[in-house]
Symmetry: C2
Subunit: 337 residues, 2 copies
């Protein structure tokens, strides 16, 4: 049975990426329903050669839906995901609303697909920075437990939505023309600047984005003791994140072992050409499915041989959001057939 699919928040950056991803992967849907807030009502869009009209998201949107892909923000998810689930749909939610809820599976298919089998009708898609990190770290963690991670991110504008991408572009043009930067969507100048991730900073000094990387990793790895510190930072890049990752394993591990494990890891592509200084870059990760991994090296600051440094890049809209959600939906379809 082919599922009837609804896309909630279809006009946003992730919503648009849902469409591209579903089409490219020839997702086996019986039908599509395009949903968004009242603002987008009546907009038309072309998808897989057909015209669709965007419908307004309401409580009665989900009567004829089997799978609902949500990316309309946390408050929309909180309000409408339970309604969709109640109406019989499986919800794959890209917001943070349900991620840490006990009964809700938080899934990266390369990491913990088995968590989909707990019967929950709501499935959470992890935070983009977390996804991009766990895809390469999980296979290493399975071979040799990771005890501690120190992560610094280089995050693209897309993580703050389509309007942030537009702002980066127009603001850059303004500055090149000698006009002042006028931040509206993002809290600080984005063009030719770097700033600490614009999520709320908590009591412990970490911002929400950083704490997501801590808590979501522990949940997906089923390892509440893994120690994680992250510093999340925005850079003037459109849609692919980078992360500098320093790992401490429980036992010594070599660069070659890491390389061998990553060479056969699903969703990972090694780009590590030292001679030509060619390593993961956003321009190569953008619009692609793989997490690019390079700068693989033994950490010289851990002389006991338990340290490894990595530099990774992944498309925030794709594997960091839409692709991972669609892969979850594919797994749901496979599990039901």
């Amino acid at each position: 049975m082919k599922p009837r699919v609804a896309i909630v928040g279809v006009t946003g950056a992730v919503g648009q990426e849902f469409l591209r991803t579903l089409e490219q992967r020839r997702f086996p849907a019986a039908s599509y329903k395009m949903l968004a807030s009242a603002r987008s009502k009546g907009k038309t869009l072309e998808f897989a050669g057909e015209q669709y009209t965007v419908e307004t998201l309401t409580e009665s949107s989900f009567g004829d839906v089997d799978i609902a892909l949500f990316s309309a923000g946390g408050s929309s998810s909180k309000q409408f995901a339970p309604i969709a689930a109640e109406a019989g749909a499986v919800v794959v939610d890209n917001s943070s609303a349900f991620r840490m809820d006990d009964g809700v599976p938080l899934v990266v298919p390369e990491v913990n697909p088995g968590d989909l089998n707990n019967g929950s009708k709501i499935i959470a898609n992890p935070n983009c920075s977390t996804i991009i990190m766990v895809v390469p770290v999980w296979p290493l963690h399975q071979a040799n437990r990771v005890e501690r991670m120190v992560i610094s991110t280089y995050q693209a504008a897309s993580g703050a939505g389509y309007q942030a991408m537009v702002e980066l572009e127009t603001q850059t043009a303004d500055m090149l023309a000698g006009r002042p930067a006028r931040p509206k969507v993002l809290p600080h100048q984005a063009a030719f600047n770097v700033f600490s991730h614009n999520s709320d900073v908590g009591e412990n000094g970490y911002n929400t984005e950083e704490m997501k990387m801590v808590h979501e990793t522990r949940k997906m790895f089923h390892d509440p003791d893994i120690r994680v510190t992250a510093t999340c930072v925005r850079v003037p890049v459109m849609r692919a994140h980078c992360e500098s990752i320093n790992l401490t394993f429980s036992k010594p591990i070599t660069e070659d072992e890491v390389r061998e494990i990553l060479a056969s890891a699903p969703g990972v592509r090694i780009i590590d050409d030292r001679e030509n200084s060619l390593f993961p870059m956003p321009i190569h990760a953008a619009n692609g499915d793989d997490i690019l991994v390079g700068r693989i090296r033994q950490d010289i600051s851990q002389p006991d041989g338990r340290g490894i440094d990595l530099f990774v890049s992944g498309d925030q809209l794709r594997k960091g959001a839409a692709l991972n959600a669609v892969q979850i939906a594919e797994q749901v379809v496979a599990n039901n057939n």
Copy 2:
């Protein structure tokens, strides 16, 4: 006695910053000599209200020079710094040519001014990323020895010279106009991209920039055992670097202790406003003297209380190069008077 000063490489990005810094600080010079390669011969420039003609750097340039500020690249320094020293000048060299030489002081005035007293006529100015890091870390290290540092950098185009800054600007304009990026000075697309620092990668997988941060820190701290790992990365920013710094101290330390030490540390300004998400940014560090420090927090991945995370930003051309060299020259003048 006021010294006669030569500026070697005066037409470059750091050379130009030498001029701005000397003028702003009212450096007590008796005279200035503007030197550059034959390419710039005859160019005129205005400095402190006077016109100067750029002279070609030759072996006989230094007969009437007391202090020579070099920033003309490593090979020029290797060739001409010993000649200048032989002719009686004190050389402050911004290149990496002499930094690790045993008899050559490598100095950040806030860190190890005493190293200037060994009688060497050549004094090395450290690497920009190293300077920006040691200014805040040194006072902490004195209070509670730093055992290990994990650093990820966000480096501006200026570190690759004036032409790299021009390339970032023109390439960004090209891309906004729909034209392709054509990297010439930098090895990869700089606009809207992030890439691993373009210095040679050695046998151990670290690039030269990263190893400078390791070796130079050990030399300046007189601590050959301090463990450092760095990942050096370029971002599309003009002239100020950022660094995400994770520290492991030898004894437990609190966020408040760190804040108190840094509040009175020379060359440091704390910008750490959690409520308004205002932290160090290149746009605030650029053209300023201070290293901005923020995101000061206890590292939750080190439950023994020995970990601290910081995010810093400093002007690469200024404290990362010209200002530090001028401060060294000021110290040399003070020591001789």
